[in-house]
């Protein structure tokens, strides 16, 4: 006659499995609610861009109806810019890490959610595209060269080495450069030199800007507004 053996305690592995299942559920639930919270609403962003919100000026007043920027005033193109990059700029304006008298108060007035919505909206708009035919005006030769080959005698790498082969940006950290107003690019390079813009990761952009001459800054800023890629490969 055999007596029934006492119930065995669960094997360590089984215990772990149970704990694992519980944890998985917890993570799922927490993740879902977080994702919901963090969900950026492109449409809400579009509304703020068009109409503004609670004391915030409509973005399009300066950045253009399609986020194309305003060349004459040097307001940058936002359309097609990387979402993570745009979000970081708004956060940095708010924290003062990136100094700008117009943008700082606007960014401070935006909630975290509005910042996400706006960056999502502008990232979804079409970015700058090269014209089918080459730009009519002669391109400053020095600019094209800086963009594609850099000036290593001065320790300056090609702009496109980090910002992508067509200067269209390498998300999340390296923004698109092409199609930016001449005045905007120039002001940014000067701001890095002066230290009024210091929000580049690892100081990568400052170290490059510091090596650039005024002539180089002019040439590259002019080139990037309507770059022609002719002559990259011969």
């Amino acid at each position: 006659m055999t007596s029934t053996p006492p119930p065995r305690p669960p094997l360590p592995l089984q215990r772990h499995a149970r704990a694992g299942r519980l944890t998985a559920w917890a993570v799922l639930v927490a993740g879902a609610s977080l994702a919901n919270l963090a969900h950026a609403d492109r449409a809400a962003g579009a509304t703020i861009a068009r109409q503004g919100a609670g004391g915030i000026t409509a973005c399009m007043a300066c950045h253009g109806a399609q986020g194309e920027g305003q060349a004459a005033a040097g307001f940058p193109r936002l359309a097609g810019q990387g979402q993570a990059y745009l979000l970081k700029q708004l956060q940095d304006f708010a924290s003062g890490q990136r100094k700008n008298p117009q943008m700082e108060p606007i960014a401070r007035a935006l909630s975290a959610q509005q910042m996400r919505d706006l960056s999502e909206h502008y990232a979804s708009l079409p970015g700058w595209k090269a014209e089918a035919k080459p730009a009519a005006a002669a391109q400053p030769a020095g600019g094209a060269r800086l963009a594609m080959a850099g000036n290593w005698d001065a320790g300056i790498p090609a702009c496109f080495a980090c910002h992508g082969p067509d200067g269209a940006g390498v998300p999340p950290h390296f923004p698109a450069l092409t199609g930016q107003p001449n005045a905007y690019t120039r002001a940014q390079l000067k701001a890095w030199q002066a230290g009024t813009r210091g929000n580049d990761p690892q100081g990568l952009m400052k170290s490059v800007a510091d090596k650039m001459s005024d002539a180089e800054i002019n040439a590259i800023s002019e080139y990037l507004e309507t770059p022609s890629f002719y002559g990259r490969r011969e």
């Binding site: 080959a149 290593w152 269209a168």
Partner: protein, 323 residues
Amino acid sequence: MSNWFSTWLENQKRTRSFHPSWILLVVAATLVVAGIVWIPAALVSKAEYDRLPSAALPASDKASIPSDEIPAAVEQPGFPARTGPKTIRVDFSPPDVDAIPGGKFGEAVRLGRNIFNDTQTYARAYVGNALNCVNCHLDEGRKADSAPLWAAFAMFPAYRDKNQKVNSYEERLAGCFRYSMNGKVPPPGSKELVALMSYSYWMATGAPVGVELKGRGYPKLAEPRQPPDVARGKKVYEANCAICHGADGQGTQVSGRYVFPPLWGKDSFNGGAGMTRVETAAGFIQANMPLGKGGTLSEQEAWDVAKYMNSHPRPVDPRLVKS
């Protein structure tokens, strides 16, 4: 004085016998003569050596210096330049890209430049990973301390321990395809190798032959104070490299093309590549990385991060595979 000397001379003439002063006289005379010859020679060669690197001359002038002045400078150490432990290092600037000539030669040079900068497109058949030559030879193969082509070209033929024979430049290029590009070796005389040789040859226009040019190869760092360490290297990597090469070292792609190359894994160089030597990688990294901020990592950081990079798996050295 003259009195003493004439008396002594008369005495010598008369006796015609050995006198101990002869020894002194010969030694002193030798020293004097040697001094007269050697001191100005040393001064001249030093002045020449100092003047070369610092000369702020336009590229064309610089390039013309070596042809008449370098041979003299190289003869000084008294041993052949390429095998000597202390080679005189000469400044050289490659010609400007706009100076690529026309004609058939120019065509080959241009193709070589395209292959070099965009190996993925122009030498696709011979590449087995995601790299381009320019990833490790910055500025189109022109940058000093980044193994520039102009400094490599005239050092060949050269004996290499790697394959234990005298290599032509073409054979050296083939090695790049086999190891660094983890690919197939283009046949000798193929248009790819001819183009790359033409590009290198053009870039070395005016460079002295068989002389170590300043900026050749990657800088050789001093032995690290602490042995290179993977854990420290990981920290260096995360703080300085991951932004471009990715936390997983797999580089960054934009629309299917690598903007920043993978540092290990299947799309990177294989185990036979020079970059797998920690000292080689450390020299490259310290001088050139992060891009645009070369020279900012400490040598110890460079050693550590090189060790970290090479602690990851990558395609095997084809020499170790039995076919």
